[in-house]
Symmetry: C2
């Protein structure tokens, strides 16, 4: 790059990184397809027949640009939520909207707060826009609202990220706790509330949508409950001023036309969503029973995945590796104390049977393996440092 | 917004704007569907049957995330172009990649150069990242390479934007002229070469792809020749260091899985593309004949649209408005001297017949209209100021 101009200071300083390794990348690296894809919280329950039909139809119009305003979709969504059109913007998934929010609020050098081990794409964007990240450890597998609030004040954060229900733990806080948390936030800080899994959560977890005050930006997606992960479509709900700011900088022609059609049609099929949510509830109970049978415990989950506590990080790593050797993809959280768990998507009944068999089989071998073997597996695994707190928390 | 934190300085300072008004928005405003959509250079020739089939199939896997690396698509594209995988990144259309490039290279306050009246989304992103735009007027309906180069040096620009073949004129420079232009660029400036219409252009316009030196970022799309405008998929070709920088900040999960499948399948059907290109050539000739019959001239076009010179901005405005009254959507360039033209997409034979009839009809009435009526129409039209250079250039 003799004559190459340097990149911006922010880009130049960034390490090479991706938010996380994708299932497709894993398959290429291993030159082997995955048999069970239970690591990305995709929905094995598919999509609504209405969405399928709408998407097939939309292919016939794919030579035309989609509507950059996603008008019909926004009209339907805002009618469902009882808010104005000006309180909602559609983006190509929550990842897109996380980036948009960070770009709108965080000047280079300004602070953002998140939980240590929470969804990494928020961190990716904060780093990408030159913000300063501050991490707060989870407390008994929950986002530690008290400590998050204190850190916000201490570092004068502009944004605090919170997923409710949470990923990767699956745990949640009630709407009342969130409301109290928001009220204690300093006026210069907004809550960025990631509700990717909200469809699976009990009603008392869901903060009412209320814009008499505007301290919360909420992000939702069609990737999980609605099963449209590959379509890349989600939305943000916020006060009008924030949405107006988003409109000034967002990618207006970023959302696929077929995704728009699929999302809109999905909203006309609430029964499908209810069925998925019931099926997922059943699956969560099944994982809980499985864990008990294997002498393990699970974290309480209000999502479409379950975190199974393996007792220590070495064992969790070893099990993730052994599962992958058998073409079963699950993930484990990246940081202590969460990384003694493995995070398993609730698959279909057949997928769950296959997972239960494989896990049972592997656990037997890992349990009887000597410590050296486990440590070797661990060192070969995710390049994490052994900094796990071995204290077992029953949840 | 009593307690609302302010946005970043850049966002706060931006005016409310969209890159341009979409056909969907026009339809909503007019509460009437468009009969002829010839204003956004979409392809009336549709998509390859292979792409159609691949996209229908891809719907069945839409519950799974797509490959964030677009590996198969990149493998095919780089094999076609004879470059390494590390020289290419896929994004959700050229608009996405324009934003990515600006973000990677332009610090707030730094300069970028473009032609006055060129593709507005580059300008949108430069403003959105706090860059300083400098405009160079077109010269005889061509990008003025000499003046662009001089301005780059004068303002110490980091990026110069150029579409070849050009939008909105349809004109082009040869590869040899581009090469000479690149060689004269100061070392701190890169050429951002938008090749959205390259499939329609004669071979001598296409700069060879050569990465022994790395002064050019090239952007291509599946929206035009391949007819996948609604799918939002395109790619950037650049030196490895630039692609590596893009990887540090790009939206890894931004491209729709069906779009990936459609794009890949399109590349397996070069015959379809050739047919579209031939059909478009025929349509360009037809527009030329039409213009001659109407005592007008066209700019020479190497794209899927033709700019028809109406002689003065007032007349161009009036005709765009009259066409829209009859549900025919075309656009006109935003700045002099281009804005005495209307830009018309090459539609299908049937669309062209309908367009020819409507235009002929309207022209008669506009030609006979008195000057006051034309001026009234003009004032009611696009809120442009009358700053046209009335000198007629025959091209």
């Amino acid at each position: 790059m003799n004559n190459e101009p340097p990149f911006t200071r922010i880009v130049q300083a960034l390490p090479q990184m991706v938010p996380f390794v994708s299932p497709s990348t894993l398959e290429r690296r291993r030159r082997q397809p995955l048999k069970l894809r239970l690591g990305a919280n995709e929905s094995g329950f598919g999509i609504s027949p209405l969405a399928r039909e709408a998407m097939h139809e939309a292919i016939e119009g794919i030579n035309w640009y989609g509507d950059p305003e996603s008008y019909e979709l926004r009209a339907k969504l805002t009618s469902i939520h009882g808010i104005a059109m000006e309180n909602l913007v559609v983006g190509s998934g929550i990842d897109d909207l996380l980036g948009l929010t960070v770009r709108t609020f965080i000047e280079p050098g300004e602070a953002a707060v998140t939980s240590l081990g929470a969804y990494p794409t928020f961190n990716y964007h904060v780093a990408g826009y030159g913000g300063q990240l501050h991490f707060v450890p989870y407390r008994e597998f929950h986002n530690d609202l008290q400590a998050l609030g204190e850190t916000v004040t201490k570092v004068r954060a502009r944004l605090v990220y919170l997923a409710n229900p949470d990923n990767p733990t699956g745990t949640y806080h009630t709407a009342a706790s969130l409301q109290a948390f928001i009220e204690r936030l300093p006026s210069e800080c907004l809550l960025l509330l990631d509700e990717a899994y909200v469809e699976f959560a009990p009603p008392e977890t869901v903060l009412p949508i209320n814009y008499s005050e505007s301290r919360v930006i909420r992000l939702r997606t069609f990737s999980k409950g609605y099963g449209l992960a590959g379509a890349r479509i989600g939305y943000a709900i916020a006060d009008r001023e924030t949405i107006t700011a988003f409109e000034k900088i967002r990618l207006h022609y970023g959302v696929n036309r077929i995704a728009q059609a699929g999302a809109l049609a999905s909203l006309h099929d609430p029964e499908f969503l209810r069925d998925v949510v019931s099926a997922v509830e059943e699956g969560r109970r099944e994982y809980e029973v499985l864990a008990r049978q294997l002498n393990l415990s699970v974290l309480p989950s209000a999502t479409n995945f379950v975190a199974i506590d393996m007792g220590c990080v070495e064992r969790a790593c070893a099990i993730v590796d052994r599962l992958l050797e058998r073409d079963v993809f699950v993930r484990m959280p990246s940081a202590p104390p969460l990384n003694r768990c493995i995070r398993v998507t609730v698959g279909t009944p057949l997928e769950r049977v296959a997972f239960a068999e494989t896990l049972s089989d592997i656990l037997t071998s890992v349990v009887v393996a000597d410590t050296n073997a486990v440590n070797r597996l661990y060192r070969n695994s995710l390049n994490l440092k052994a900094r796990d707190n071995p204290r077992r928390i029953d949840v």
